[in-house]
């Protein structure tokens, strides 16, 4: 068996490979389900029903897709230039802290003012948190994978500290029960983000922001100088340096942008859905890590991120509503992992051709391949 690089990839493969990967992932997960004694067809049917068909399912799917759309864009932006920011999780927490802090402080203002300030709060907080590994990468050449990841745990502990470990500004201390069972202060009604009722589904404002961000990110990479520089830096760092690019500036700026996107995700969690700083809830769902899955499956294309976030949102949403006997926890992660594995394996088929030939050695010792 020989693996040869393709000179060009046929069109049909671009559709066939992802579809085949998805199918293979579902088959492989079915095997896991069978081993554990569950009926895969029944589980998949219920999954699909709860994700897209049942009344209100599409709305719930959009709700779960919103934060992962934003963290997916955050990962896609950075990964496209081979900047491995896997800190979207922490950047989202910090974005939520920033947005809820601003929202609480401006409680008496008019709705649009608060909402704009909350978005800004999320953007700034997320960007600031991401710029730390960005600066370390740019000036000390520190591996951003590890540093951005370590900061996720620090951000999680900060979240816990603000609600459970201290009497902070974010914590509700107004009643006796709130002091016994720590939780965040609830934001005023004016700080709730609007929704758009389209009949079959209700569109959260955060999702609209995500769509807008996807468009802007696509434009940024396609037609701005900064995007061009980022692409060069991603494809060939040495070429970028020889061309005299201000490498450090691009790295720090891209980290900031990536963190800002994740920060909007955090702001949307507060403004769209939770309406308080939910220290425990935010840490239970792994929104940032799912964003990496989304970005990788979308092959860092912003529009594909929207589609993948929607599909995975359906999966996650169905996973939540089905959790219980007959639908074990952890299944959604297994399925997501499988999809990723097969998508990664499928990449090979896009770039290489597998041919079955016999290898033999010529008298001169050179390898000669003969079609078998």
């Amino acid at each position: 068996m020989r693996i040869q690089r393709r000179l060009h990839t046929p069109r049909w493969l671009l559709v066939a490979v992802p579809a085949g990967s998805l199918l293979a992932a579902f088959i492989a997960t079915a095997v896991v389900l069978l081993v554990a004694g569950n009926d895969p067809i029944y589980v998949y049917a219920r999954l699909f029903e709860r994700a897209f068909i049942a009344p209100g399912a599409l709305t719930n799917t959009l709700i779960t897709a919103t934060p992962t759309l934003l963290t997916g864009l955050a990962a896609a932006a950075a990964f496209r230039m081979k900047l491995w920011n896997i800190g979207a999780e922490g950047q989202l927490y910090v974005g939520a802290i920033g947005a809820s802090g601003v929202g609480l402080a401006l409680g008496a203002q008019a709705g649009p003012v608060i909402i704009a300030a909350m978005i800004l709060g999320g953007v700034l907080a997320g960007a600031a948190w991401a710029i730390i590994p960005g600066l370390l990468k740019a000036y000390f050449n520190t591996n951003e994978i590890i540093t951005s990841l370590m900061l996720n745990y620090v951000a999680g502990l900060l979240l816990t500290y603000l609600i459970f470990g201290s009497h902070s500004f974010w914590r509700d201390l107004s009643s006796f029960s709130a002091r016994q069972f720590p939780q965040g202060k609830v934001l005023s009604d004016a700080a709730s983000w609007p929704t758009f009722d389209l009949g079959v589904l209700v569109l959260p404002f955060g999702f609209v922001l995500g769509l807008l961000a996807a468009l802007l990110l696509w434009l940024l990479y396609r037609s701005t100088i900064f995007g061009f520089q980022a692409r060069i830096l991603g494809d060939s760092p040495s070429a970028a340096r020889y061309a005299g690019l201000k490498t450090r500036r691009v790295v720090v700026a891209m980290m900031g942008l990536s963190g800002a996107l994740a920060g909007i995700g955090g702001a949307s969690e507060v403004g769209d859905f939770r309406h308080l700083l939910d220290a425990r809830g935010l840490q239970q769902v792994g929104l940032g890590y799912t964003g990496i899955v989304v970005a990788a499956l979308a092959r860092y294309n912003p529009f594909a991120v929207v589609l993948v976030a929607f599909l995975l949102g359906g999966l996650t949403n169905a996973g939540y509503s089905l959790q219980g006997p007959g639908f074990p926890s952890g299944l959604v992660g297994v399925l997501q992992g499988m999809i990723l594995f097969f998508a990664l394996g499928g990449e090979l088929l896009l770039h290489y051709r597998i041919s079955f030939t016999h290898l033999s050695l010529s008298p001169l010792g050179e390898r000669v391949s003969e079609r078998g």
């Binding site: 040869q4 370390l136 590890i146 370590m150 745990y153 990496i292 594995f341 394996g345």
Partner: protein, 319 residues
Amino acid sequence: MNDSIVVVLVASSIFYGTPLVFAAVGELLAERSGILNLGVEGMMLIGAVTAFWSVQHIAGPDWLVLTLATLIGGIAALATSLIHAVLSVSLRANQIVSGLALTIFAGATGLSSYIGNVAGLGGQPAKHEFTAIDVFGLSGVPVLGPILFHQNALVYASWALVILALAYLYRTRTGLHLRAVGESPQTADVMGIAVARYRYAHTLAGGLLAGVGGAYYSLAITPNWIDGMTSGAGWIAIALVIFAFWRPELTLAGAYLFGLFSSLGFVLQARQVPLPPELLGALPYLMTVAVLVVVSTGWAKQRLGAPASLGVPYVREER
């Protein structure tokens, strides 16, 4: 004297650092062959959950059950690492994404949680657990007793592992070949070394050791099963390899330093020192960042760097 805070701290930092030694030495072997595996956290959790399942379901004397359980944890994690090996060696996939996928697949919201849930492992105490052994009856010796002679079996195994890894890397022909594969697979290939076979073998060895490290959590540190119970230790192990300049003996020092920060919280709390536990909890992570910054600067990199081909797939036709 043996109750003094320093002795207690040193002894417990060894106790808490030991799973990191296993996982970091495993990752080090994989990275020495040129394979970066970011799936350590996932593999550790698979090791933890399968080892815990084993102690609940195997009957027998403590030592036998614990040995079997640790082995089963290691082998389950080895099987998990095979996915990464196939993807990154044979299929030439992006190792960063593949490793992350492994952690998502196996980690706190994936297969390990699924197994724990299906087998109903949550909320029960372990039927067997690793406890400290009084070696040669020397545990009462001042200062050294609690530190060196009153630890559990896996701690002693981890010391043996570090010595073996050192001997393997620097005193055997296979170890020399391994380093060649990680530095320059082209050269190794020309020398007749089977690059792919080395990369497979050491990625799998990394999986095995990560599984043992995971088993340490569910059998020694907190003998029960909780989703995501390693809480980031796998990631710290990856950082440790860099921290240790890819040398086994230094992973030991690094792991105990991190163990110190994990145990500092418990010890200070027990002595009622008023510090928020979240701050102490954050220290190991902040330490990792700080250490990485120091280690990444030019002078340190030049002295002892990463394997030159780390993370780069080797394709014979394209050399």
